[in-house]
């Protein structure tokens, strides 16, 4: 597992992609993290940013939870699960794998459909992987 080096350009490119495709579609927050639990990019609506999500804890837990989920998949003879999603009363969270080592965390309300999120995350996946891993 190689170290990630982030530059101002990669940061800006990724931020623009995420804002255009997800934040502008009504998503509250998007975090791009690596599988060791580091935060690479953190985007969100201004109101949503005020809730002040603890990004460090969220990233560590998400990375661990996804690693655990993969192991659960293997225990029942699957490679991995394709849908990683939790539904809450007011907020929902979706996890998407990006390339080999990255995870895109999307936090959104009931005004945005899960289908749209899945579709947009899939579209973003290659371009984001390209920016950081390519």
């Amino acid at each position: 597992m190689a170290d990630f080096v982030i530059t101002a350009q990669s940061q800006e490119k990724a931020g623009n992609l995420i804002v255009n495709s997800l934040i502008n579609a009504g998503v509250r927050n998007v975090l791009l993290i690596d599988s060791a639990g580091n935060v690479l990019t953190n985007c969100g609506h201004e109101e949503a940013m005020n809730i002040d999500i603890d990004a460090v804890s969220l990233a560590a837990l998400a990375a661990a939870s996804l690693a655990a989920t993969s192991q659960i998949a293997q225990l029942i003879g699957e490679d991995d699960f394709s849908l990683l999603f939790h539904k809450g009363k007011n907020g929902n969270i979706h996890f998407g794998r990006i390339g080999q080592e990255l995870i895109l965390i999307t936090i959104f309300g009931d005004d945005v459909s899960l289908g749209l999120i899945r579709c947009r995350v899939a579209e973003l996946s290659d371009s984001l992987a390209e920016i950081f891993e390519g």
Partner: protein
């Protein structure tokens, strides 16, 4: 796996405290959390503890100041030591940059220390990491127990069991009162940051 953010001039490293169950890994983090200034540390996250046993991991993010213009951010993790949580230990080791192995001085735990160090070597190898090449320091914790009637291991015995091939720095500690805790942390942070920086030729330190 370190993260180097050239735009914010930050280096993020992951240091994992490893060792048999109940040797004092969580206690180390709790002491560091208590002793450090609030502006230099994040929230301590302790997950899923049943009784006082770590089932998943603990996390403490620290800000260690600047080295050569880079802000050094360290994330301290612990693993659950109990043998049955093998899977969790493996996922916490993902992307590790530096290691502290905490040993228990109780004579009855002598074998458990040795097994845990071997378990660490095996789990690192699964991530294609070579324990002999990684920043690693040893901590001989609970030295206060040596003044009690409980049979304990001497530092010489611990060195023989755990450090005869590694030949790395080792520290005596009493994590409950903080003795040796910051000596351990300083040394492993220094080695880890140097290891990451040299790998990326950020600076010669």
């Amino acid at each position: 796996m370190a993260l180097i953010d050239l735009s914010k001039k930050e280096v993020h490293c992951k240091i994992v405290f490893y060792g048999p169950g109940r040797c004092g890994k969580t206690t180390n983090l709790l002491y560091i959390h208590k002793a450090m200034d609030e502006k230099d540390r994040g929230k301590m996250l302790t997950i899923d503890t049943k009784g006082d046993r770590t089932l998943f991991f603990d996390l403490l993010p620290l800000n260690l100041g600047k080295i050569s213009g880079f802000d050094i951010r360290i994330q301290l993790y612990t693993v659950p030591g109990q043998v049955m949580y093998e899977a969790t230990r493996q996922l916490v080791l993902k992307g590790v940059d530096g290691l502290v192995f905490v040993a228990d001085p109780l004579k009855v735990r002598q074998e458990r220390n040795i097994e845990s160090l071997e378990d660490l070597r095996r789990n690192l190898a699964k991530h294609n990491l070579d324990m002999d090449k990684m920043p690693l320091v040893l901590q001989y914790n609970k030295r206060d127990l040596c003044d009690t009637p409980v049979p304990t291991l001497t530092v010489e015995e611990l060195e023989h069991d755990l450090n005869s091939t590694l030949k790395t720095a080792s520290y005596e500690a009493i994590a409950t009162t903080g003795v040796g805790v910051f000596d351990t942390l300083k040394e492993i942070s220094k080695r880890t940051v140097r290891y990451v920086a040299e790998k990326h030729l950020l600076v010669k330190m």
